[in-house]
Symmetry: C2
Subunit: 226 residues, 2 copies
């Protein structure tokens, strides 16, 4: 059996996973909302962000209470401080999902995204959701290899973002300036969302290894043999 202290530490971890789950669901639904011009879905994402914010406030209060009461040192201290940072990343990711949903609401009953970019936006949304699901798994498993995979996924997101920009910058762009602005902002939201998911995973890497993810060899170049 675990003592009350470690139970509290675990419950902070559980809250982080719950936040990541909610945020991943939010970006998935927000993506559907913009592509299908689904106002109800958009509203549900916008309203649901409050729960993510509440979870963060609650997590912060518990983390600070834990610091005050238990005065952890060494690894435990780093876990608590890192959890505070991860919760900030997740809260911000929730905001970004909300921004995507708000764009759907703003342009309803139209979609803010022109048809020929739906596939790219769908890929960005799905990738964002996968990144957050992996980040949640990294929090649970502390799997450093999986954490490093997120960097590769993030490269893919950058590629999709560049594809989007190529469309925007193409002389044949025929959707007008308003749509260009919408697509620019949406692209930015997904890119930032992915950054935060990577950041969450990297913070776990730092906790486990004491090294920043950038300094660790990526899975593409295995450190050990087969």
């Amino acid at each position: 059996m675990r003592d009350a202290y470690h139970e509290e530490l675990d419950s902070i971890g559980d809250s982080l996973v719950e936040m990541a789950r909610l945020v991943g669901s939010a970006i998935g639904r927000a993506t559907t909302a913009i592509l299908d011009a689904d106002l109800n879905l958009a509203e549900s994402v916008i309203a649901g962000d409050q729960k993510i914010d509440d979870l963060q406030h609650d997590l912060e209060a518990r983390a600070i209470a834990l610091l005050a009461r238990q005065q952890p040192v060494a690894t435990d201290l780093r876990i608590v401080v890192t959890s505070l940072r991860m919760s900030a990343d997740l809260e911000r990711s929730g905001d970004l999902a909300k921004h995507v949903a708000k764009q759907a609401r703003l342009r309803f009953p139209d979609s803010p995204v022109p048809r020929d970019l739906h596939a790219t936006l769908l890929e960005m949304g799905q990738l964002a959701q996968r990144l957050m699901a992996k980040a949640a798994e990294v929090i649970i498993t502390k799997d450093v290899d999986l954490a490093l995979q997120l960097e590769t996924d993030d490269d893919e997101m950058d590629l999709l973002h560049r594809t989007l920009f190529q469309h925007l910058m193409d002389d044949r762009w025929k959707h007008g300036v308003e749509t260009a602005v919408d697509v620019t902002l949406l692209g930015r939201y997904y890119e930032r969302f992915a950054d935060h998911a990577v950041s969450v995973a990297n913070r776990v890497v730092y906790l486990v290894t004491g090294e920043h993810a950038d300094d660790i060899q990526t899975p593409g170049v295995p450190v050990e043999g087969v």
Copy 2:
């Protein structure tokens, strides 16, 4: 004389002020760089961001060491945890200044901003710089009234941001899609920069009063008499 512990706490505060100073200077120079298409200035902002990142890493390490060694409780604990968050806000603000500068570098020898929007962009840049200067002053003075002023300044930023969007959405927009994309991103960077400055000030308010800034009456409606 102060003891070593409180000296260390003070030195963390000094680092925050130094970060805010650097970040405020960075957004000012980045704004000049985009308006004057000044490549050297843009490069100096981009290179200078490393120093801001280094300051943050150093501050974090000292804050965590302080938590481990001194195990502060109550107010002191809140100060250290809040300092960690403020440093994250400031580091991110530095990134945003760098993004502005990169936009200048990308479009050199042109300015990414069309002539008829220079005045608006200049106002946004100056306001961003003033917001950060006030945030630094709030860190130093713990002046709650001044902190609440930042909300008003931020409203002004939102107004400028809306002005920018009105230009973009105007049927008479004649600068093409590429420029629309640039201006959209720049507007977003300034808006986020302002948000972070407000966030820094609000965290000081919370430290001083134990209340969130939203729950405090604004200076426009004085709580006490004249």
